[in-house]
Symmetry: C3
Subunit: 130 residues, 3 copies
Amino acid sequence: MPLVNVHVLRGRTAEQLDALLDAVHDAQVEAFGVPETDRYQLVSQHEPGEIRALDTGLGHPRSKDLVVLHFVSRRRTREQKVKLYELLAAHLRDRLGISGDDLIVTITENEDTDWSFGAGRAQFLTGELS
Amino acid sequence: MPLVNVHVLRGRTAEQLDALLDAVHDAQVEAFGVPETDRYQLVSQHEPGEIRALDTGLGHPRSKDLVVLHFVSRRRTREQKVKLYELLAAHLRDRLGISGDDLIVTITENEDTDWSFGAGRAQFLTGELS
Amino acid sequence: MPLVNVHVLRGRTAEQLDALLDAVHDAQVEAFGVPETDRYQLVSQHEPGEIRALDTGLGHPRSKDLVVLHFVSRRRTREQKVKLYELLAAHLRDRLGISGDDLIVTITENEDTDWSFGAGRAQFLTGELS
């Protein structure tokens, strides 16, 4: 947890996709303070006609590098979220040369009851996770 | 914002998909009163075996035209949501000949802290968006 | 309702995918007490490089059988959710031989206003559904 839905345009090499997922994961671990093994990422690679991303007038031209991230997570503080966005932008820029113009992030929060990580158990309720 | 996940069966032409996304966007702009540039749409095209859509006994036979929409949005009023559903059905019918039987919509709400539209900034918090 | 996003690795036969979707649906019907026709499932089949699933240190080795489920649902009780996880694990194991190690589930809740099942109507508000 979180579960991260990663939407990109098709065209990256396997190595580039690996590096992207690593960068996203590292930002999350640092911002949310979750364990390194708290990694659940699902990638959807789209054809150009399958994504429309404008900018609400903010002045972010989008390119083929576009990365749209949808996190499903337990509650996080405002500070944790702001840090997540900053670290995502920094890691994507520094490691992969992806402009902040190409990064869109949204978060949906849920509760301890809403997760099972294996064996049909709700590990936040059983006490296996806290 | 919103971020709209659009699920359809594979088989539409590029022009048909464009028209569908335009219809969805126009309904959203009118119902939610968001800017024209508030456009974030992700399409997943499925094989027939990848979608199961019944009707909870409501009497909506589904066809190959089926459109399933999942909106992730800041809070909207009941009136805005009802208007969204009505406009979606109207636009899909009038512009594309898609029956209301083939339209399924759900919304997940989140908060101002849950969005970054570029540059690693939370624009609803910084005041860049309101 | 719920809407179930089913993420798997590509490689199952049509019959195996059918059986998986049936098992998921039956668990939901039993755990949530919804009608048999309350079935809305969307499958995404991923390439190996498109999924990263570790285990938060819980000791669940993941295999090519991995199933990640994201339910979008009206409010459910803690008991209903715990039952859902248990039944999902049981049905996948008993019917398909899928280990509980390969089952990850998360739930996002929304409200009566957040659903339209056809015809642009909000059936939980109109009274067509209760």
